[in-house]
């Protein structure tokens, strides 16, 4: 029956409830750091910037009491694919190359630029995997909606945009398990009426046709639920765009300002090293 078990198979990173300096940071700062460091990873060259960033992320992970091996374990199943990508990158993508090939085997030639490009690609990927895994490990869902509101505050003309977006994020997270369960129910309902899920040995066309009675009820059920939610919110006098307060307030402490300063310094140094 495991193939019906959608809600337990959701793979979106795992929050680690610990109490470390990294966990205690203000949510808006965590999100801002991910945005800044993530974009720094995307424009940094391989050496030494990406290497230093990787070590810096390892340091953050260590401060957050997280095991680096655990954070990187998501990569393991795709390692063979990565090898394949490496081969494609080195041999099949033509670039404008200067100079002679480094060495050649039969009709294959290996160029320096190709090797560098591939290495940089992988280094960026590993850095981002580490960064985002740390982020999902130290940030619970409620903090993400807080952070969204705080980060968007400067952009909202009447403060409403920031609140609307944080409500959207909250609803999204709240509905993910509900809809996963809904999908599970629909699959089971169809299976009990004779749809052959689970026995996937059949023609492709038949397989494709199986999807229609799964997906469309899922959408309709979701839209019905959202209509009910709108009514429930209205009947409790929810007013979009009104000013409202929060149950939990996050206050910026001295350590948060220090971290913000540090992140901005790192970002600017990396940025300047790129353009100068």
């Amino acid at each position: 029956m495991s193939q019906f078990d959608f809600s337990s198979n959701l793979s979106l990173g795992q929050y680690e409830p610990l109490d470390t300096p990294v966990h205690r940071l203000v949510p808006a700062l965590k999100m801002l750091s991910v945005i800044l460091l993530g974009s720094a990873v995307l424009f940094s060259p391989l050496f030494p910037q990406l290497l230093l960033l990787f070590l810096f992320f390892c340091l953050i992970g260590w401060m957050g009491n997280l095991k680096i091996r655990y954070l990187m374990k998501g990569i393991r199943p795709i390692l063979p694919f990565l090898l394949l990508i490496g081969v494609i990158q080195i041999f099949f993508i033509s670039r404008q190359l200067e100079g002679d090939p480094l060495f050649s085997v039969w009709i294959f030639k290996i160029y320096r630029e190709d090797l560098f490009f591939t290495a940089r690609l992988f280094a960026r990927f590993f850095c981002l995997v580490l960064l985002l895994s740390i982020f999902t490990s130290v940030t619970p869902v409620t903090e993400i909606s807080h952070g969204t509101e705080a980060l968007l505050k400067p952009f909202g003309r009447k403060q409403a945009l920031a609140h609307d977006m944080s409500l959207v994020v909250t609803i999204t997270f709240r509905f993910i398990p509900i809809l996963a369960r809904e999908a599970e129910h629909i699959t089971k309902a169809q299976a009990s009426r004779g749809a052959s899920f689970g026995t996937w040995n059949m023609g492709l066309l038949k397989k494709i046709r199986l999807y229609i009675p799964l997906i469309i009820p899922l959408f309709i059920a979701a839209l019905e639920r959202s209509e009910i939610l709108v009514e429930a919110m209205e009947s409790r006098c929810y007013e979009a765009g009104a000013r409202r307060t929060r149950l939990d307030e996050f206050h910026w402490k001295f350590a948060d300002w220090m971290v913000l300063f540090l992140i901005i310094v790192i970002f600017s140094v990396l940025f300047l090293s790129r353009i100068l």
């Binding site: 990173g13 998501g74 960064l131 985002l132 809809l179 996963a180 997906i215 979009a240």
Partner: protein, 191 residues
């Protein structure tokens, strides 16, 4: 904009984003296909959101969908292409534009001939997704251009067809349920 409308926009944005996350995370959003690579229908919520509630809703759903696919590519990658989906130019930007193009096409034809609008908008939206994602992969030098052309034809067109079929069924069903007082789509469903 009345307040009910605004509340509905917020809720639909949240719920549709949740669907696209669920479709991605449970692998329900991948339909097996002849070419070996699966068709994806994870962008259907963006199309439906854009048609039902307008361009801003569509673009925000696209943004959340894109961010989640970026996060998922990094945290629990499943295939070789996930390597490139950690780049926001591949995973986020094209998805934001789906909502915009879908809505533009829908608005262009809505007043002239509604069935055409309902059919063409999802097709264009889905093709936007395929073309821009593959284009971004090409610009990022992830895949050779010849391969991208092949994927576009082998996967992009059936993907657009599948996405359009699902969006049309959902929109026609939803609009004719009659939760809104007056539905222009009622005449579509009289068979």
């Amino acid at each position: 904009m009345s307040n009910t409308n605004r509340t509905r926009k917020i809720v639909i944005t949240g719920v549709m984003s949740a669907i696209s996350v669920v479709l991605g995370a449970t692998h329900l959003g991948f339909i097996p296909w002849f070419s070996g690579a699966s068709l994806t229908i994870m962008h259907v919520p963006v199309i439906i959101g854009a048609i039902l509630e307008g361009p801003v809703v569509g673009m925000i759903i696209g943004l959340i969908f894109g961010l989640f696919s970026l996060l998922q590519a990094a945290v629990s990658p499943t295939g070789p292409v996930d390597l490139f989906f950690t780049n926001p130019l591949v995973s986020v930007l094209p998805r934001i534009l789906i909502g915009l193009t879908t809505w533009l096409i829908y608005r262009a034809f809505r007043d002239r001939w509604l069935p055409l609008a309902v059919v063409s908008a999802p097709l264009v939206g889905s093709l936007t997704n395929t073309a821009l994602v593959l284009g971004a992969l090409g610009v990022a030098k992830a895949l050779p251009w010849e391969l991208i052309g092949t994927i576009m034809i082998a996967n992009g067109l059936p993907e657009a067809g599948a996405a359009a079929m699902i969006s049309i069924s959902v929109i026609v069903t939803w609009k004719s349920i009659g939760l809104k007082k007056k539905s222009k789509l009622d005449e579509l469903d009289e068979d």
